[in-house]
Symmetry: C2
Subunit: 461 residues, 2 copies
């Protein structure tokens, strides 16, 4: 089935591309009419900028509602590149037809300077109060990602009345949970369509509702919403405001996006950049500007290492062969530290590693043990290589011990540093990388030269 | 609300820990009775091994059904550490009460040697055909993660009969979609409870059903299932076998887990290890064994770099100061390559980067441009540092150009190498790291010495 779907989308992408080249507007519109918005967004991934602009112009003219959904489903960069190209009037036309949550995410991704003119225009067509209210919530909160178009009924409603209401309304989407509110609009409980079927028609929703329910506040971080949904296997979580009024729901399909985006963000952070890159994909200087600070921090560490090399250069004069293992001592510490710090940062993000007494010490101890085993193994390998090279056991032992030390220390600091940052309230994903690498580079080289110094002093006079 | 939930779980964890220390079995059972399985699993994260074993023994004796759900919700390592401690009889007792999909995931996480005795025992209590059928599907496929307990009705059923059936059955969970099958059990369409409410009682489900629906095969990769759910905003996807019979559904709450796990797997792979580590957390040698191969591949690259340093050592005799920038040339290439390769690997995993002609060249060109801008910026910084250090513009230019080259090349190879691996069918997350770092180390040093050689030959004779 699935490969059928994949093959079908590939064929469609080819067809659309060919039609776009021929500027066959009518044919494209006919094809678009038969597709789901999710498919269209997926197809856009394989289009060039020119192709997507042309096809999107047809979509937004003929199917403005679908255009809103497609825009929401696109990657940030592609969305930006399409929006940049549109006139405020065209964006307004799309917003007018889009659902509130799609409208929020579209306005949200407009550059600051474009927002005002677009919103001014839209006001003429549609009451955008809801959109603006929602845009007032902080980024990455439940309030911002929620869908304000949910289905709730007063507690006094009877099962019979509720069923009739649902029969009459056809503009509501899928009803996952049936929320029950009091006269003030405050959330008091939840029930389901299935329970409506089971209950007698005269029962009131207030009697039927289950009152112990998981809910979040508009200011709750989206990561916490995702965590709660996963913990309780919920398909939707109701969102309430300061007055405990129900103002929206976050559905689990939005949570899938949150989980994906948060993981992507962490990948970017781990190498000292940010997913803002995605917005400015085609502006090299801006992307370079995002990546540079982290590289500069690393540069400082490497300059210190260089300073140490130069300072202890006299030892190379005595034993030129010492130079051979400098890259190994530097690099292996960094690599081993990267392993532990990546695992630790991810563990902290998923909640697998909890900064709780007892458990945290055990974790650090385990990582140190693993580092030691790796250090011993790599030390043994390098000892053999050094013996083959110089057949001098003292020299080989110096290299092996320096490596053992650098690797174990890096593995341990790869675990300690992220946990320390977490405790201090600093994002461990951002800060750990350079510190782990730099400290293991510098300490590795220091130990290497210290051991070599001792060797020259006492063993090879 | 949310922080209330968090505070409440913290208080509960403290209470349970205190009761466990006093071995207050009765009190613990009373407390557990009031908690949701998701809460219990969450609380376990903050327990030590001893605490979790004690509390779990009470849970599995008094609430075997919840015990199954808690086990499923735990991290792999914690699940293993609890299962290891249990007798086959106790595991059998839990499996007997668990839902089929929980039973599958529990048996699945047993070590090979424990599986047979447990399954043999369980057979006595409960028909485990369903569990064993499901275990026969490949890891990470729709067949393995699906829930075989879904709700489907024959196409000849009328709306009235369907409603009555739903009223009578109380062991079915939440009905997201109402699947419609023909006499052979083949999936022919889908409808919903809401449509049952809207339709006239005599309509047959066959007439009501929407026939164009997204479905997957038991062998479909779980990542593809997640992709489809996200693309079409589905809450559940039906799974069919070779004969197109409906055999299960994958619900979106399982998909959230898939997305989280796949991202975690990629984090591990990027630093040359695997999430198998999580299973063997407490066995250092085993974890070290998982991490070592990648480190050894890196070691080879670093030995080559060391060889180059030694080989061109004579240049250091002419100009000792060249040594100072060796770490910078090596490290900055590696860092800049890590940035691009991480972004590229993640982009390939999320489908943002599609290996499609036209688009892929544009991506590579953009990344090369960013690399060049970064190389120019870092080159300028290093030029100034070299000037301050030696006040020799020729030398400073050699360092700056070598760095520019190393950084640009690393940024480009960080984009090219993962894409190449993807095309060759090799997992880009696994293979890219060492190759990107090693190639940029080696080429950076080669260019550095080549430029220095030219400098000595023509400029500073």
């Amino acid at each position: 089935m699935d490969s059928t779907i994949t093959r079908r989308t590939e064929r469609l992408a080819d067809a659309l591309r060919r039609l776009a080249r021929r500027e066959a507007r009518g044919h494209i519109a006919k094809l678009l009419a038969r597709l789901r918005p999710g498919d269209v967004a997926f197809l856009f991934r394989s289009f060039t900028v020119a192709e997507s602009r042309y096809i999107f112009s047809i979509l937004s003219a003929d199917f403005p509602e679908a255009a809103g959904e497609v825009l929401t489903d696109l990657d940030a960069a592609q969305r930006m590149s399409l929006l940049e190209h549109l006139q405020p009037e065209e964006i307004g036309h799309i917003l007018q037809q889009a659902s509130v949550d799609d409208a929020v995410s579209i306005v949200d991704s407009l550059p600051e300077e474009q927002r005002e003119p677009v919103l001014a225009l839209v006001d003429l067509h549609r009451d955008l109060d809801e959109v603006q209210t929602q845009l007032a919530y902080e980024d990455d909160t439940a309030g911002r990602i929620m869908d304000p178009e949910f289905f709730a009924l007063p507690e006094s409603t009877t099962v019979h009345e509720a069923t009739e209401t649902i029969r009459r309304q056809d503009d509501i989407g899928m009803i996952l949970y049936l929320y029950v509110v009091n006269d003030e609009g405050q959330l008091i409980g939840v029930t389901s369509l299935r329970q409506l079927l089971l209950a007698s028609p005269e029962t009131s929703l207030g009697e039927l509702a289950q009152r112990d329910l998981i809910q979040v506040h508009t200011s709750t971080d989206q990561e916490e919403v995702a965590e709660l949904a996963a913990r309780y296997d919920l398909l939707a979580i109701p969102v309430t405001d300061e007055d405990r009024r129900l103002v929206g729901i976050v559905t689990v399909d939005d949570i899938v996006d949150v989980v994906t985006d948060e993981a992507t963000e962490d990948f970017y952070k781990m190498v000292g950049t940010s997913d803002d890159e995605l917005l400015y994909e085609s502006r090299s200087a801006r992307v370079a500007g995002i990546r540079l600070p982290w590289l500069l921090v690393n540069l400082v560490g490497l300059l210190v290492t260089g300073y140490l090399l130069e300072r202890y250069q006299s030892q190379f004069d005595k034993a030129l062969y010492l130079l051979f293992f400098v890259p190994v001592i530097m690099g292996m510490g960094g690599n081993s530290g990267a392993q532990t710090s990546t695992i630790t940062v991810r563990g902290l993000a998923t909640g697998r590693i909890m900064v709780v007494r007892g458990r945290i010490w055990k974790y650090l101890f385990q990582q140190a043990k693993v580092g030691l085993v790796i250090g011993l193994a790599l030390g043994a390998v390098v000892f053999l290589i050094a013996m083959v090279k110089e057949s001098d056991p003292t020299y080989a032992a110096v290299v092996a011990f320096a490596l053992l030390f650098a690797v174990t220390l890096a593995a341990l600091s790869g675990a300690v540093i992220p946990i320390l940052f977490q405790r201090l309230g600093v994002d461990p994903a951002v800060a750990s990388g350079p510190l782990v690498t730099t400290s293991s580079d510098i300490l590795g080289i220091l130990v290497y030269f210290a051991l070599a110094g001792l060797m020259f002093k006492y063993l090879i006079p």
